[in-house]
């Protein structure tokens, strides 16, 4: 039986089809999940993709967290189900309290659309099992509000528990100011939940799944998820 990815569609989501394409390339099945439904359609993994949910009025993700679908996503996550929030999906997960911290306006005040180097920081087999531990991934970002912030206590907890999944670095894996595209605190690009089953990241793995797009590193993440679920059954 193939692994099924449920891909959320909110009003304004635009990365859902890219995610479905990536999932299919990786060899799994993709189904769309409508924001007004509470049904996850038997999905093994839920993806909250990029875009602008409900126009991102008030704050990014502030309205989306009340969508009926999010109640089902919460239940799925509470039972240990895998959830991947990409870009706007990461913002929604933070607003929904499934991940700590918040994503603020980029320090440059510019919308940044560019390839980035990401250093794998934490062991998270479900999401990165097929990536080289401590290695670098080449993934693009595309956002205006991706500056990660968490208060001191939360940041210390994230570091202490090894829950910072990815940091922005230069091509040599070094943390430098120019390599941090949005001014994120401690160059954080992605974090894990306490149970390590929910990952939020600003870069777009679904847009780095074919050599023609400049990188296939994103495909490793989708294959890791499939590998993780395949080994459970």
């Amino acid at each position: 039986m193939s692994v099924r990815f449920g891909i959320a569609v909110f009003p304004g989501t635009w990365s859902d089809r890219d995610c479905a394409h990536a999932v299919e390339l990786a060899g799994a099945e993709a189904v769309q999940l409508w924001h007004g439904d509470r049904d996850l359609k038997g999905a093994d993994v839920v993806i909250l993709p990029g875009g602008f949910a409900y126009g991102d009025y008030l704050r990014t993700g502030a309205i989306a967290r009340f969508a009926p679908l999010m109640a089902a996503v919460r239940e799925h996550a509470a039972l240990g189900g895998l959830v991947l929030g990409i870009c706007n999906g990461f913002q929604i997960l933070c607003e929904a309290g499934l991940l700590p911290g918040a994503l603020l306006r980029n320090s440059s005040l510019q919308f940044r659309c560019q390839p980035c180097w990401l250093r794998l920081e934490a062991p998270a087999a479900a999401f990165f099992g097929q990536c080289q531990p401590g290695g670098l991934l080449r993934l693009p970002i595309s956002h205006g509000e991706g500056r990660f912030y968490a208060d001191k206590e939360t940041m210390a907890q994230l570091n202490g528990e090894g829950r910072v999944a990815l940091r922005y670095t230069d091509a040599g894996g070094r943390l430098t100011d120019p390599a941090n595209p949005n001014g994120s605190l401690e160059a954080v690009a992605g974090i894990l939940s306490e149970g390590r089953n929910v990952l939020g990241l600003m870069p777009h793995p679904e847009r780095a799944c074919e050599p023609l797009l400049g990188s296939s590193d994103g495909l490793l993440m989708f294959r890791s998820l499939i590998g993780q679920l395949g080994s459970r059954t």
């Binding site: 008030l58 607003e95 700590p100 911290g101 918040a102 603020l104 005040l109 912030y149 968490a150 208060d151």
Partner: protein, 78 residues
């Protein structure tokens, strides 16, 4: 009024401060950009409105991780 907490870098505020300096207002030593939200309520008295609006701020209008809020209430016509 919802604004970023004081400890959080506010790049919009820094740009506004810089622009005001260029316009000849060197006395500006700080600027923060926030959100102004206006609500109209149909309630009997201001005391109950106070509690309700405070709850609205905490549940939706303000993200307590990054923002502070304050509000005032004014009786409307009638």
């Amino acid at each position: 009024m919802v604004s970023l907490k004081g400890v959080i870098n506010d790049p919009q505020g820094l740009v506004v401060e810089d622009a005001l300096h260029h316009l000849g207002y060197p006395e500006v030593v700080g600027a923060r950009v926030g959100k102004f939200i206006s609500l109209e309520l149909d309630v009997e008295d201001l005391a109950s409105a106070q509690l309700r609006v405070d709850e609205m701020c905490q549940r939706l209008l303000c993200n307590g991780e990054i923002e502070d809020y304050r509000f005032d209430l004014q009786p409307g016509p009638g």
